[in-house]
């Protein structure tokens, strides 16, 4: 269909589709033109000017990131002049940048650092014009250092156009231009949903998570503390790439080994509580489908999505599953079930989670997340923090001997591991819901229509003679498409075509979470997701209801899915939040509480 054009890049002929940029054409010709503000997943902002190129037969300079390739173009990507220009731009950028490489969170990942290094630019080639700017430490999840910001605009682009959260914007003008929250109230007082996509797209270390690492080390090295740890499904798919292994390589045993070497007292696995979530959420879904009440059920395990819902779609709160996220389920079990079982005083337990997510830091600190009588999860480390931890401990991750976790709270099925990828929760839930509705397993457990990187995915299933329509969205801009449709259908017809909807705040799901390594692109996220599906396919059990450890837990402690005790510990309520400050204004649903009351009667 599409028209092809031919052009020359540094003398090499290349054929590209019409509409491709010079940058893309050059890539095809084997040249990666240097870029700084550009990111392949985002619309070019054309802010930095590093990617300028020249032309053989005509004058002028163009930014290759946003200039379409034309038939017969003869592009020059490197010349004496271009080298000078690029160096100059790096020098200019550095002159207004807090050069803090040794202690910077982005050291070794910083695109500015890399360019400076490749171009042989001296840090102080130009006198510093940097002015003192205060760090924004108002958020419990995300910290911003304006002195490191180079105004590439990626964070704004992702917050505004991919996530449609609009927590940040470029404000003021000229040299005073900066990135700020509405009215300068700070991230913690903004609509920010803590998804952290701004961090993974930041080319420098201007954005990072609020650091819990120091506190975790302190706890580990405190003899009086019993420090336990859980790791999210998506962690195991990214750790390897940070230690020179292939993207998507799943490294469970090494992960446990690293945690053990670091000195955690007990190693659980969030995958276990992911299976538990399916039991609780699946039971809820089946119940609501049978009753035909408050459909569609919408998943609740992505805390970025939950805050987004509380701000922008509080009227849909009654549709969101009351099941807590796997992190919080594990947290509450740690300080109840585990403490009881091991004879520990929960106040001596420090519960740590390792998450691909910055919103989990916010979730752990929600006041309602203390059903154990204590804050259920004390500290949340992102993948990035955990990688630093392994590096500080000087562990040779790649060559670690695999180790075993604490089985009673770590055994998991394939259904749990795919929680880390978009569509995974849906697929896991379908596997169990089918069983709950029909008393038998699906012929094939693979629900491929809900897999993959398409923004919105839909599938129609036939279970026990009835048809169920489900939808999956990842990235909140995509989520809006489904949510607006659902809202409209509910308003107009009182019912929606969907029975069950999965929403993940981050594009790609948790493998693309805001706590994952800097610069994780959509393409990388897809490969990590494939790694998880591969693990799923290789596990002996692939449906949560077949997890023996979960069945034991119900027998020993919780009773049955949806029991009073399960509700008390494993379910929660939502709030309506201000779109301006993100602060809670009112309770949005009482479904969970009503359930408890009813159970008490």
């Amino acid at each position: 269909m599409s028209e092809k054009i031919k052009l020359k890049i540094d003398g090499y002929e290349v054929e590209v589709e019409k509409g491709a940029t010079i940058l893309e054409a050059a890539k095809k010709a084997g040249v990666n033109i240097p870029t700084l503000c550009y990111h392949e997943d985002l619309d070019p902002s054309a802010a930095c000017g590093i990617c300028v190129v020249e032309f053989e037969n005509k004058g002028g300079y163009q930014r290759s990131c946003c200039t379409p390739a034309e038939e017969g173009m003869e592009v020059i990507t490197n010349s004496k002049t271009l080298r000078k220009r690029r160096k100059m731009i790096v020098e200019l950028t550095l002159s207004n940048h807090h050069v803090d490489c040794p202690s910077c969170a982005a050291d070794g990942k910083c695109e500015l650092q890399e360019l400076a290094n490749h171009f042989g630019v001296e840090t102080e080639a130009m006198p510093s014009v940097l002015e003192d700017k205060e760090k924004d430490k108002s958020s419990v999840a995300i910290e911003r250092d304006p002195e490191k910001c180079i105004l590439c605009g990626r964070c704004v682009e992702v917050c505004e156009n991919i996530q449609t959260v609009n927590a940040i914007e470029i404000t003021d003008r000229g040299f005073e231009a900066n990135i700020d929250t509405p009215f300068g109230y700070g991230i913690g007082e903004s609509p920010c949903i803590n998804c952290g996509q701004c961090i993974v797209y930041c080319p420098t270390g201007a954005l990072k998570e609020v650091d819990h690492l120091e506190k975790v080390w302190d706890a580990i090295l405190d003899e009086n503390k019993h420090v336990v740890v859980q790791e999210a499904p998506a962690i195991r798919a990214t750790l390897g790439e940070e230690f020179g292994m292939e993207i998507g390589n799943v490294t469970v045993g090494k992960m446990y080994a690293a945690l053990k070497r670091i000195g955690f007292d007990a190693i659980f696995d969030t995958n276990f509580s992911a299976d538990l979530t399916i039991m609780e959420e699946g039971t809820e879904v089946v119940g609501r489908i049978k009753e035909g009440k408050d459909l569609p059920v919408i998943t609740s395990c992505s805390p970025g999505w939950i805050k987004f819902m509380e701000e922008y779609y509080p009227e849909l709160a009654k549709n969101v599953s009351t099941a807590k996220s796997p992190q919080q389920m594990m947290g509450v079990l740690t300080k109840t079930y585990y403490a009881e079982k091991e004879g520990l005083d929960p106040k001596d337990i420090v519960s740590v989670s390792i998450m691909p997510c910055t919103a989990k830091k916010f979730e752990a600190q929600r006041p309602e997340m203390s059903d154990s009588g204590y804050q259920d999860v004390d500290y949340v480390l992102t993948t990035r923090e955990f990688v630093r931890m392994i590096k500080e401990a000087r562990l040779d991750f790649k060559n670690l001997e695999p180790q075993e976790p604490y089985h009673a709270l770590a055994d998991y099925t394939g259904a749990a591991t795919i929680f880390g990828a978009t569509g995974g929760v849906m697929e896991a839930a379908i596997r169990s819901a089918y069983y709950l509705l029909t008393d038998e397993d699906m012929d094939s457990l693979d629900v491929t229509p809900v897999r993959g990187m398409e923004g919105v995915k839909e599938a129609e299933l036939e279970i026990a003679g009835s048809k169920l329509k489900v939808a999956v969205a990842h990235g909140l801009g995509n989520a809006r498409k489904i949510l607006d449709k659902v809202k409209k259908q509910l308003e107009e017809n009182g019912e929606s075509e969907y029975a069950f909807v999965e929403i993940m705040a981050c594009p790609g799901g948790c493998v693309g979470g805001g706590g994952q390594p800097y610069h994780s692109s959509i393409a990388m996220r897809a490969r990590r997701g494939e790694g998880l599906y591969k693990e799923d396919s290789e596990l002996p059990e692939r449906a949560s209801h077949h997890n023996q450890a979960i069945l034991n837990l119900y027998e020993d402690f919780l009773g049955e899915p949806g029991s009073e005790k399960a509700h008390h510990l494993l379910h929660t309520n939502y709030f309506k939040r201000s779109v301006l400050t993100g602060k809670s204004i009112a309770k949005a649903t009482g479904a969970h509480e009503k359930h408890l009351e009813k159970a008490a009667e």
Binding site: G49, L92, S95, V129, D172
Partner: protein, 537 residues
């Protein structure tokens, strides 16, 4: 304005003297002074006007308006209404026949007549708030002719043939610009008039809007017809209160007369105009930044391509033209392209409105043929230089310094380009020997630093470094390598900035160092400001 833009000629003869001409003249001078017009409007005594028994007789030139039976009590009204606001006082106007040969002294007034007025033909002559006066001087005839007799493609062709080029600064051929949008099927299309005049030293567009807003409206309607737009916007900078007021009124009047709205002149062509106001941002003069601002957002320039002609306002095909450009259109349609092509140089046709300022005797606004030399502009029209000519900053902040050597270069788009200078907006700031080039350069860079939109790295940070180096030089902290550093940096910015703002610093710096390297070196090496302007400490 301290230009001589008008002359008030007092017919002095026995009759008028008896009627109290001298006392009226005194009062006139006093009122002009009070109104701050004393530099701009010259009172000249002349002989008999040939109108007798009509009391005190005065003639306002070049407006060619005679007032009779003027008393001391009328002076204030004439000054306020006619001379200040451009609305001749009908009540005192003399409508009878005048034997012009009787007028013995009109040489001074001829200075204005030397100008070749196309765009400014009505300014100061008609009441800008009265549509009928505009109609009386053949106003809206061109529009009527266009929509009833011509096809849109004929209009595009006519403008192409005329050689009219954009008067905003870049000089892009107007007809060619229209021809990119005219054939597109995508609807709606928009016509946007760029009235965000912000180039330092430029106020031609303001005077067109204040003095003859209907000419702009007519130009817009013709342009809209040519490109197939039904909606036009005038983006006027927020500081231009009177322009906004006058243009708003003119639009309303045009609507009342059926000149804007549906089915204009029964031709089936619909067109209306809305005014949008800016809020203080020089960069919004860049057409894509203007579109962003017009949409209610930050005035950051957009990535080009796509060009506004294809993807403009709200992503629809949009032609953006400057006020002066559009004000040229009615005359071209009315008189034909051949008439227009007679004026100007080979590649720059027509006239150009200049604002001439600084150390000249008669600063102000003139409209002359393209290709008029800087020497003529300064010495023939602006009354020469106060002191000795040092240089002129031509084209505003985005322009370049022009030294003595270039006084005789023809001023048009191409000739100036050959000398690393630009015509730009037509602002000419003349400096004499007392001006310090480093000080002026620093001032220009302060302007860029303040007005950069901040999006693009070379411009946002580069201008700060340029400014800082110049600031150092004025404080005796300059280093020898600075001249070279500034040139290299400015050249980098020229080649890697997204829009004209970031690209502009190079021209001023390059031209300043080319003509006045010695003067800059004095500051750096000897730590002395020869003009004694810079602090040097």
């Amino acid at each position: 304005m301290s230009v001589v833009t008008k002359y008030v000629l007092f017919g002095i003869d026995d009759n008028t003297l008896q009627a109290g001409a001298r006392r009226v003249e005194e009062e006139f001078k006093r009122e002009l002074k009070n109104a701050g017009l004393d530099d701009e409007i010259k009172v000249v005594e002349t002989g008999s006007m040939g109108i007798i028994q009509k009391g005190v007789v005065i003639l306002v030139e070049p407006d060619d308006i005679y007032y009779t039976e003027v008393t001391i009590d009328d002076v204030k009204e004439i000054v306020n209404e006619h001379l200040l606001k451009g609305r001749p006082v009908q009540r005192l106007k003399f409508d009878g026949k005048v034997d012009k040969s009787v007028v013995s002294f009109r040489e001074s007034a001829q200075e204005i007549k030397k100008q070749n007025r196309v765009v400014l033909s009505n300014s100061g002559v008609i009441d800008p708030e009265n549509i009928e006066e505009y109609i009386a001087v053949n106003g809206y005839e061109a529009l009527a002719k266009a929509v009833t007799e011509k096809k849109p493609e004929d209009i595009v062709e006519e403008i192409k043939e005329s050689g009219l080029r954009g008067r905003g600064g870049a000089g892009f051929p107007t007809g060619l610009k229209w021809s990119f949008t005219a054939p597109l099927d995508k609807k709606p299309k928009y016509l946007v008039c760029n009235a965000d005049e912000g180039e330092p030293g430029t106020f031609k567009d303001r005077l067109i809007m204040e003095g003859d807003p209907h000419k702009l409206i007519e130009g817009m309607a013709i342009a809209a017809y040519a490109i197939g737009a039904e909606k036009g916007y005038i983006y006027i900078r927020g500081e231009y209160k009177l322009s906004i007021e006058r243009t708003e009124k003119a639009i309303e009047d045009a609507r009342k007369y059926g000149i804007l709205g549906e089915n204009i002149f029964g031709s089936g062509f619909d067109f209306d105009i809305e005014i949008k106001i800016g809020a203080g941002a020089y960069v919004c003069g860049e057409e894509t930044a203007l579109l962003n601002s017009l949409e209610g957002g930050r005035g950051n320039p957009r990535v080009k391509p796509p060009f506004p002609g294809q993807v403009g306002l709200w992503d629809q095909p949009t032609v953006v033209n400057n006020v002066e450009t559009l004000a040229n259109v009615p005359s071209i349609i009315l008189n034909g392209h051949d008439w227009y092509r007679e004026m100007g140089t080979e590649d720059s046709k027509g006239t150009k409105v200049y604002t001439i300022l600084g150390h000249v005797n008669n600063p102000g606004l003139i409209e002359v043929e393209m290709g008029t030399t800087l020497r003529d502009i300064i010495y023939k029209y602006a009354g020469g230089v106060k002191g000795n000519f040092k240089c002129a900053l031509v084209g505003g902040a985005a322009g370049a310094f022009i030294g003595k050597e270039m006084l005789d270069v023809k001023m048009d788009y191409d000739h100036l380009g050959k000398y690393k200078a630009v015509l730009g907006s037509g602002a000419i700031l003349v400096m004499n020997q007392t001006a310090c080039i480093v000080d002026m350069l620093k001032n220009t860079l302060a302007f860029f630093k303040h007005e950069s939109c901040g999006k693009c790295t070379p411009c946002r940070i580069g201008n700060v470094h340029l400014y800082n180096m110049l600031d150092d030089i004025t404080k005796a902290k300059g280093k020898e390598e600075y001249i070279n550093n500034m040139l290299t940096l400015a050249e980098s910015m020229q080649q890697s900035s997204l829009c004209a703002l970031g690209q502009s610093a190079y021209l001023v710096i390059e031209s300043a160092t080319r003509y006045f390297e010695d003067e800059i070196l004095e500051h750096i090496e000897r730590k002395v400001c020869p003009q004694n302007v810079c602090e040097m400490k």
